[in-house]
Amino acid sequence: MADARNVIEYDRVRKAYVQGKAPLLAVEEMSFAVRDQEFTSILGPSGCGKSTLLKITAGIMPVSGGTVHVNGRPVTEPVSDLGMVFQNPILIKWRNVVDNVLLPVEILRHRRRDYLDRALDLIRLVGLQGFEDRLPGELSGGMQQRVSICRALITDPPLLLMDEPFGALDALTREDMNLELLRIWEARKKTVLFVTHSIPEAVFLSDKVIVLSPRPSRVARLFEVEIPRPRELSVRYTKEFGEYCGSIRAEIKR
């Protein structure tokens, strides 16, 4: 472990899916680091291994080569104190919204009522007030996704892995969610690793944007976004913002 400020460190990570005869190389060689309280976004073509990388980071999928360190320890089992938003909402269909949000609390065997207010606050924050008692089957895809974000935030984990969390949202809701996420990130001093397909979203949110090559993926290029914070939505119409987007766009191949 080179640098104590690194919360995540990837060292020549490689991932091949073995399935039948021919293994499929998803990640060829990935090396980069995520610093404490840094907001890092990952951009890359579909199928290049972004979700794979997040699952490896969470310790729920083994690497085929190389090492990952989280909080200074090599990842060999599911990492503690981590919030994860999967690409799909993965809600429990017989639990209503509140009970889905409180699932991590139950698993940790904490007292439910200590977290109930926080759950209701989060639900209001993502604009789902009035739907607390609804079952997932009664929600739209974007609403389900927001429930899964609340679930990842309920225990206030210092490290957040988010896999296209706003992918199913309309543009306006997405902007609101971006602002809320930044607010939470700044207030609670979190480290965030954020996968997205939206270049402006990545630039708006991040300190660092990592662009991956097509599969088998490597880091194509790393961009440091030096737009001052706190950022307002209006920052997206500045020349500087446009330039970041342009140079990132030029780096993404298909």
């Binding site: 599911p78 429990i92 698993i107």
Partner: protein, 270 residues
């Protein structure tokens, strides 16, 4: 104001659609079909002057039921008793077996072929042996109903306990859920809709099991009544017994559906 009203009406109709039990149409259509079939039967017997020994008119069978209600009820009670005991035993054993099988690969490998063997063996062929061992009372009938009914419960139980979305399992790994927590919070409820499907098959099999056992030995039950009608060439009584038996089977099936609606409401919403 008007818009509020509209909205409420809309919400009510949407919520009223699934999950509220069968609607008026779902009851009307099959009832009408049944009535039509019975009327056609009655008409056909009259029109073609079919002998009541071959095919009595439904009116005669119903009349027989009305006149011999006490007798029929006594036999129905005996059969129902056997069916329910066999069915409950099948639920208990079926659920325990499916839990054992998902918890241990070795147990699963050891038990699965035996379960299949127990099913490919025709119960009718084994029934005489069971009667020889267990006597001619209620016990062999319960046992036969049970052996034939537990299989779909085990199979569906195993499917329901194991068919979990792999991503859900990923989520639970991230949350560091224990095996016990996964079982209690996810597997059991995930299995319920599958188990209810198994129960619906099992109850019809339990009916078959009890009747077959009554055919082979004993002196009570609707199966026994059918055998007696056959040897005395009392076709009307036979049809009366068959009608009561069908009604019993439908009633038991409907009961399971009612319990299902209460136990797995999420399965009927959305």
């Amino acid at each position: 104001m008007a818009i509020k009203e509209l909205e409420r009406v809309e919400i009510e109709t949407i919520q009223g659609l699934p999950g509220r039990g069968p609607g008026r149409r779902e009851i009307l259509v099959p009832t009408a079909t049944l009535v039509l079939l019975v009327l056609a039967w009655e008409a056909a017997v009259a029109a073609f002057q079919i002998s009541p020994i071959i095919l009595p008119p439904p009116s005669a069978a119903l009349l027989f039921i009305g006149k011999n209600l006490k007798l029929l009820l006594a036999h129905t009670y005996a059969t129902t008793h056997e069916i329910l005991l066999g069915f409950l035993l099948a639920i208990a054993v079926g659920l325990v077996l499916s839990i054992v099988m998902i918890h241990s690969k070795i147990m699963s490998e050891a038990l699965y072929p035996l379960l299949v063997l127990s099913q490919v063996l025709p119960k009718v062929a084994v029934a005489p042996l069971l009667l020889l061992w267990l006597g001619y009372g209620m016990l062999p009938k319960v046992v036969i109903a049970f052996t034939i009914a537990f299989f779909p419960i085990v199979i569906n139980g195993v499917s329901g306990l194991t068919n979990i979305d792999p991503e859900m399992l990923d989520l639970l790994k991230v949350l560091k859920a224990s095996r016990w927590q996964v079982f209690v919070k996810i597997r059991i409820k995930n299995a319920l809709p599958y188990i209810f499907d198994g129960l619906k098959i099992a109850i019809t099999l339990a009916v078959i099991g009890a009747i077959v056992a009554e055919f082979i030995g004993g002196d009570t039950g609707l199966g026994y009544l059918i055998i007696v009608s056959n040897s005395t060439i009392n076709t009307t009584m036979m049809f009366a017994a068959l009608i009561v038996l069908s009604a019993l089977g439908m009633l038991l099936f409907a009961l399971i559906m009612v319990v299902e609606r209460v136990a797995v409401p999420w399965h009927f919403r959305s």
